[in-house]
Symmetry: C2
Subunit: 301 residues, 2 copies
């Protein structure tokens, strides 16, 4: 297993040819594995899931920044998802037994090089944050690209690295280290974004809802639907199924229903196994109960 | 992927040392992979899940018969699961693109050798059946080991191969070929087996219940519970979750509840993914949404 996962979120989800060039950039480094690409036209955002060593991921991400800076102009970008950068946020995630320190070190090394090479203001967040008030992405991102120049004028929001004003077309970038996160969206049978926002407010931890859940309501113009977009930052505290059932319950109270759900990126095996155990009341369920998983395992004969 | 799965069911689920010797026997053939062992003391039965080539599985199964005939005496065997043999039933299952004919051929080759070498009466069932009335295992097994001599006295129930009377301690054996089957049990919060039987009758296809579902009610003395024991013979027609929800519904109508469920052997990835899709209303869920599954895949970078 590679030591690190890296999940760059880029502000482009509408032009497939641009997404293809961004993908080509990250995969230009041989050691890096591309595990997933999730693009959404309403969010106007793509989430790439990569795995590799710190060194290979750094090279891969530098290629991504280079391409994104050429291809993405935030002054002409619109989308329902908050963002401050062309390469909006780049979290490093330890896989397997990798210590968090290794993910933090990878974030810091990338941050330094990105600031130097591209003249981009960099904020460090979560486990890589240098100030406690920068742990939460939502706080760094508040105000968006459009509010970035004003925000940086406040000394409390000077970037951690790089120039003290936004890049004219690429804004800033947020780099950090965190544990695995499940990005999970529930599409409602209403186009009314106020309903989605009301549900999100009830469900998220900051509103007194479920632990380790972040949520916002957004409008999906291309589908004529509203969506509750969630981040489950610790699926052991709140599982995908628990979060969904709470959304279902709050939706019902408002007279709407969940039509379908989607994952952005991947979920760990253990999160899926947990859903199986919960749904089937099957405490013994684990990936070793799945034929193909057993067949994939090596040396068990 | 190996071409065939083989799932021998042996009439021993109480003596771990005997199960260990049976496992040692099947794994004495280097090419054979042991994917799972599920033993149950109330059923007094163990289900081994093996994978390999027809030739390797044949050698492995011959070793299993040899050991089982030494270790298991059906005249002293009791258990809630119906059985006619020490090695009760041996299905071959095609994996991946393997044609069913290959599984049938493996069943026939093993049947011939088992009859010759061990003087065991053999019935061929399901896709390997030589007579239509022998397709269903339940029909062959009706009357159990205790009724076997009387059954064989009827010319309609002469074995397909081997002697026309039961082996004194090992009875007969049923060998065949079939598609993948999910063996799935729901434990009730009652010890009353008549309730489990009533639920099983409503749920199973032969009682007008769910398609491709076989079910029986059994008593689990060691747990003080009754159990609905199911075989889902085509999970695309009736999924694990659909079967469970029907059991839950019938149980509720009788004032009892499902306490937990268990899998005997394995389920295919696609069956688990189907449960995830259904539970989470997530049409896009597939194993490629699971981090570790993506990491296990080769050459996707």
């Amino acid at each position: 297993m590679p030591p690190l996962e890296c999940v760059p979120n880029v502000s482009e989800g509408r032009r497939p040819e641009v997404v293809a060039r961004l993908v080509a950039a990250v995969t230009s480094v041989p050691g890096v594995r591309l595990l997933d690409v999730s693009s959404d036209p309403d969010h106007n955002r793509s989430v790439l899931t990569l795995a590799g060593t710190a060194g290979d991921l750094r090279k891969s991400l530098l290629a991504l920044y280079e391409t994104a800076l050429l291809e993405i102009d935030l002054t002409r970008h619109e989308g329902v998802h908050p963002r401050v950068g062309a390469v909006d946020v780049v979290p490093f995630v330890p896989l397997g037994d990798t210590p968090m320190e290794e993910a933090v070190a990878a974030a810091e090394a990338l941050a330094t090089e990105v600031a130097d090479r591209f003249g981009l203001p960099v904020y460090l967040y979560e486990k890589a944050a240098r100030r406690p008030e920068r742990r939460l992405l939502a706080d760094i991102r508040r105000g968006g690209f459009e509010g970035l120049a004003a925000k940086m004028a406040d000394p409390a929001w000077l970037p951690d690295l790089g120039p003290d004003r936004p890049h004219p077309t690429a804004g800033a970038t947020v780099i950090g280290a965190r544990f695995f996160l499940i990005a999970f969206n529930a599409v409602l049978d209403t186009p009314d974004v106020t309903v989605a926002r009301a549900i999100a407010k009830k469900v998220r931890e900051s509103g007194g809802g479920l632990p380790a859940v972040r949520a916002m309501g957004v409008h999906l113009a291309s589908r004529g639907r509203a969506q509750v977009s969630m981040n489950l930052v610790d699926f052991r505290r709140t599982s995908v199924l628990t979060a969904l059932n709470r959304v279902r319950q709050e939706a019902e109270a408002l007279g709407v229903r969940v039509m379908e759900t989607e994952l952005i990126g991947l979920m760990p095996h253990e999160a899926a196994a947990g859903v199986m155990r919960e749904t089937l009341q099957m405490p013994s369920f684990a990936s070793d109960r799945v034929l193909e998983s057993r067949l994939l395992e090596e040396g068990n004969d």
